[in-house]
């Protein structure tokens, strides 16, 4: 840790590895594209998505409306930009819930390996795992009504055991390392060791898993919005755009194409980036594959 050469070399080596990893670079570009579109939508979209213009409805793609217009005459491109915002926001908060709750639980379980707390945390995880995110969302919306917030909660709860298991598994192997033993001999408590020695060493794993869960979150949000359990109108969301398009699939099939492509490209970008990062963080894996 105190070896300056290692600190100097590793980040540079990683950047180099990143630049040479095609999957990471493609993933990064796709992800940046959608992030920029989402951020830009706060200040500018080609057309106002809250303005309905029925006379202008169901236009094919043209120079004015790059991707055409929907049944209410709204510009599809602008709606996709605002939809990106919704998707990203829901997925980020849901992953955040998973990390903030799941990681400490996992670290705690590992620090008290074999204790009742460990058993309790793991059994609760198993229980949450038995409820697919969609069923969780259905239960929550049955009682509280559909909203983007409830979608976030449902996806977030589902993320908790994912991060708890990951953190516990990785932490358990670190607890047997010499430097942890040294810290224990030096009189450090389990909490301090978890925070100072375990957590920094599992950050890479958490970032990779976070990226994967982020992409799953975007898929889940789209699915929930599609069946009407997530984001509610008038807020544009990719899932809702698809469910609106479905009723007009015979008249305007192109409405069904673009929101789906947006979802696929975003999810693909995040997955490629996650895979790329996994290889970059773990050079052994890079050589093996």
């Amino acid at each position: 840790m105190s070896d300056p050469q290692i600190i100097m070399e590793r980040p540079a080596g990683m950047v180099h590895a990143a630049l040479r990893s095609p999957s990471f670079m493609i993933g990064l570009v796709l992800t940046l594209l959608f992030t920029v579109a989402a951020l830009l939508s706060f200040v500018w979209t080609p057309f106002d998505v809250t303005q309905l213009n029925i006379a202008n409805k169901l236009k094919s793609p043209s120079a004015t409306h790059w991707l055409g217009t929907d049944a209410f005459g709204r510009d599809i491109f602008s709606m996709l930009m605002v939809g990106a915002r919704t998707s990203i926001a829901v997925a980020i908060v849901a992953v955040g819930i998973g990390i903030v709750v799941g990681v400490p639980l996992g670290l705690l379980a590992a620090a008290r390996h074999g204790s009742l707390i460990d058993e309790f945390v793991m059994r609760t995880n198993d229980l949450i795992f038995a409820f697919p995110a969609l069923l969780m969302a259905i239960m929550i919306t049955a009682v509280f009504g559909p909203s983007a917030l409830n979608a976030i909660i449902a996806i977030g709860i589902f993320n908790i055991p994912v991060f708890a298991r990951l953190a516990r598994g990785a932490a358990l192997s670190l607890w047997t390392r010499d430097y942890v033993l040294a810290a224990r001999v030096a009189g450090k408590g389990r909490t301090l060791i978890s925070a100072e020695h375990i957590l920094p060493n599992i950050t890479n794993l958490l970032i990779v898993q976070g990226t994967i869960q982020f992409s799953l979150g975007i898929l889940a949000e789209a699915g929930l919005a599609y069946v009407g359990l997530g984001t509610q109108p008038p807020l544009p969301s990719w899932g809702r755009m698809l469910s609106d398009a479905q009723t007009m699939i015979y008249i305007a099939p192109n409405l069904a194409i673009f929101p789906g492509l947006a979802i696929v490209l975003t999810v693909l970008g995040l997955n490629l980036m996650g895979d790329g990062m996994r290889d970059i963080f773990d050079p052994k894996l890079r050589r093996a594959r």
Partner: protein, 316 residues
């Protein structure tokens, strides 16, 4: 084997109890008074009181929970508030759409993923492997309901090979029913097959690097023989886990896909239950699906122990 089975059975029962508690808590305790929730804001106090009476809501919470689970054990889910018929009957009809759909999709997914994964692993880094990895990467990113819409556009709207949705019922004959479930099953299966093929590939690559495979090669088996005789069987354990996990995703995913194709399955039932605020229907369907997920996990555990005797001793 017996101590192992008993231990697993106890944990199965505990999981089911815990799951039922969670469902009961969220649906019946969180909303405060389920009767006034179901009737909405404009209901008269008399109507609410009558519904409370007929749902047995005047009993204490633990007693209501006890009555619910003892009913479940006897196969009685309660009476649907909107349909006025036993929920068990509603579920039984729709179960025979959702369950065949999930099994159909799981079969398709396994049939596709297995050879694809084996080919990719056997010819690692070949053009075949690279394109398989690319296509599956894409398959994972495609939302199944969008893929379903594309299938409808292509096979129903353009080619007119299939109808865009609906279900004729099994009375119309087995093949008519299967035909109606084919597009939905493909939509569910392909994204899952992508995941499964990748797991199959990496698991097989791991075992191909093991010592016993090298020994098999050293004693003169060809690469192909070593793969089929030794590596494949050992690569199956992680694949089995994913198949088990996928079944629960397929059951839940079927809920969405049923909506794309207007199939009268459990998914449509539960969404109708939500819009009509029929908590009894929602509660029962959710429990049934969670029950199925837990049961499948249990069965996968048992299968492991049959496949790999080491696991029996370790867990018992």
């Amino acid at each position: 084997m017996l101590p192992f089975l008993i231990k697993r059975l106890i944990s199965l029962t505990l999981s089911l109890l815990a799951a039922s508690l969670v469902i009961f808590f969220v649906i019946e305790v969180v909303p405060g008074d389920p009767a006034s929730f179901m009737l909405g804001l404009n209901a008269s106090p008399d109507t609410v009181a009558a519904l409370r009476e007929s749902l047995g809501l005047n009993a204490s919470v633990p007693l209501r929970y006890w009555q619910w689970i003892t009913g479940l054990v006897q196969g009685e889910f309660g009476i649907s508030y909107t349909y006025k018929v036993p929920v068990g009957e509603l579920i039984a009809d729709r179960f025979w759409v959702s369950m065949p759909l999930s099994i159909y999709a799981l079969t398709l997914s396994t049939l596709i993923a297995f050879p694809v994964g084996v080919i990719a692993a056997a010819r690692r880094n070949s053009p075949a492997d690279v394109s398989i990895m690319g296509v599956t990467q894409l398959g994972i990113a495609v939302p199944n309901f969008w893929f379903a819409m594309l299938l409808v556009l292509f096979f129903a709207v353009s080619l007119r090979w299939f109808s865009a949705g609906g279900f004729p019922g099994w009375e119309a004959g087995f093949w008519a029913g299967m035909k109606a479930l084919t597009l939905p099953a493909i939509a569910l299966a392909l994204p899952q097959a992508s995941i499964l093929a990748r797991v199959m590939r990496s698991s097989l690559l791991d075992t191909l690097g093991e010592d016993f495979v090298r020994t098999a090669r050293a004693k003169g088996l060809t690469h192909r023989q070593a793969l089929w005789k030794h590596a494949l069987r050992n690569a199956l354990i992680p694949v089995l886990t994913i198949i088990g996990l996928q079944f629960s995703f397929l059951l839940a995913g079927a809920i969405i896909i049923e909506n794309v194709f207007f199939l009268p399955g459990l998914g449509r039932l539960v969404f109708q239950g939500i819009t009509q605020r029929d908590l009894i229907v929602v509660k029962s369907v959710i429990f049934l699906l969670v029950f199925a997920v837990i049961l499948v996990t249990f069965l996968v555990d048992i299968t492991y122990a049959v496949v790999d005797p080491r696991l029996r001793r370790r867990s018992a």
